[in-house]
Amino acid sequence: MSEQPELLDESVMAMVAARDLPDGAIVNLGLGLPLALSDYIPPDREVLFHSEQGIVGFGARVFDPAEVDPLLMNAGGEPVASAPGMSYMSHDESFAMIRGGHIDVTVLGALQVDARGNLANAQIPGKPAPGLGGGQDLATCAKQVLVVMRHLAPNGDPKIVERCDMVLTALGCVDRVVTDVGLFEIADGRVTLLEYAPGWTVEQIQAITGVELAVAEDVREIVLG
């Protein structure tokens, strides 16, 4: 695979995912790659980030220790900024908000996603038990489920597959997937390539995908901004 084009790095994947968040959306960011999205909201848009422990409306991640409010973290425990209009609540209220269908987009990491939109992200290989966090509530109840993940697992296996064989988190929920080679849509039992990373061909992407891809009529190279 020495001729394989370059993979998108994590910040570009986050920018691709952030690019499509609509103005005014209420968005929850899951652990791992999705947490970076709060850093890349285009300045012409207001997006309200929700976090499980009871926050709506936090800002970008904070990297200067002098600026850190130790109580204000994202779901992954990374310090984030407060922002005007932010509010706090309890865990039960936070999940009433999720279960009640008030979250527009949830951005989740994944171990496997399949053509039916099933999501597996609970059983990390080598861990003694599955972990769900808030992901099961979010995947089941958010209006749109966006997955951001590497295209291949660390062992080289495709993560977009015909049928998940790992522990399932939620059924038929995934709408879109951003990986380090492209942007995909999942609907009606099909995975459709919408955009590809610079330098990649449809054939190269198909070769590392575990399900036969449909290709959008207007498939194009990913463009940011």
Binding site: P65, S90, L132, G135, Q136
Partner: protein, 252 residues
């Protein structure tokens, strides 16, 4: 006269027995965790406890690494549920995160599970939160669409509402709820600082709710518009020491 303020953490937990079920408040951050109540529970020595917590606790070592990664100063009194796991006091844990999310950082409870020394019930965070809220509100069970068709649905009643399958989850009432808040008055009224996490959710969902606070203020200083948790839900209040301790064994 009503006075829920207790003189010490040890006194506040003197009646916790082995085998008790305990709600542990907070959310994966020592700054919203009832650190001194957990230390007192460790000193109390009760074991075979059933814990309910959003995560299984970092323990001292993982917490130190996480703080270092973020260039934050480590706490010396940041005790969390990981301490109870390290001491082998948990017989069962009901949680959404039994493991650390990273492949290289292992929660103390992961070692406990590998040795087969405790049971675990893994459930989504929202279902845990609502089971606890129901206990506070006197509702025995509720239906949720979350978890249908997955391992969490095993053995649970399924019922359709508007054509959508839901599973039945039951209320989760504990013997003790250990929570953290910012300020309290002698009635047990509480004000939190920052996201209110499971602290506010668990208040009132146990026979005895104990709140660890930074400060107790005179009655009336917390106005009716600002109180987050009415004292009705709180039985005991204990104030954190003004000088942090650095050993959980030190009486507080």
């Amino acid at each position: 006269m009503i006075n829920k303020v207790v003189g010490s953490f040890d006194e506040a937990l003197a009646d916790v027995r082995s085998g008790a079920m305990i709600h542990f408040g907070g959310f994966a951050n020592p700054h919203n965790t009832p650190n001194y109540l957990i230390a007192a529970l460790a000193r109390r020595g009760a074991d075979r406890l059933t814990g309910v917590s959003t995560y299984a606790g970092h323990g001292e070592e993982v917490q130190r690494v996480l703080f270092e990664r973020r260039n934050l100063e480590a706490l010396h009194d940041g005790w969390d549920l990981g301490l109870m796991a390290e001491l082998g006091r948990l017989g069962k844990l009901i949680t959404s995160f039994p493991n650390g999310n990273s492949r290289e950082l292992l929660y103390p409870f992961e070692h406990v599970l590998r040795r087969g020394e405790a049971e675990v019930e893994v459930l989504g965070q929202g279902s845990i939160a609502e089971r606890i809220r129901c206990a506070r509100a006197g509702i025995p069970a509720f239906y949720t669409p979350v978890g249908v068709g997955t391992f969490v649905a095993a053995g649970k009643e399924v019922r359709e509402f508007d054509g959508v399958p839901h599973i039945l989850e039951t209320a989760l009432r504990a013997d003790f709820a250990l929570i953290r808040a910012h300020r309290a008055d002698r009635f047990g009224n509480l004000v939190y600082r920052g996201p209110r996490t499971f602290n506010q959710t668990m208040a009132g969902a146990a026979g005895v709710t104990v709140a660890e606070v930074d400060e107790v203020v005179p009655l009336g200083d917390l106005g009716p518009d600002e109180i987050h948790t009415p004292g009705v839900y709180v039985q005991r209040v204990v104030v954190r020491p003004s000088t942090p301790h650095d050993d959980w064994r030190t009486p507080a």
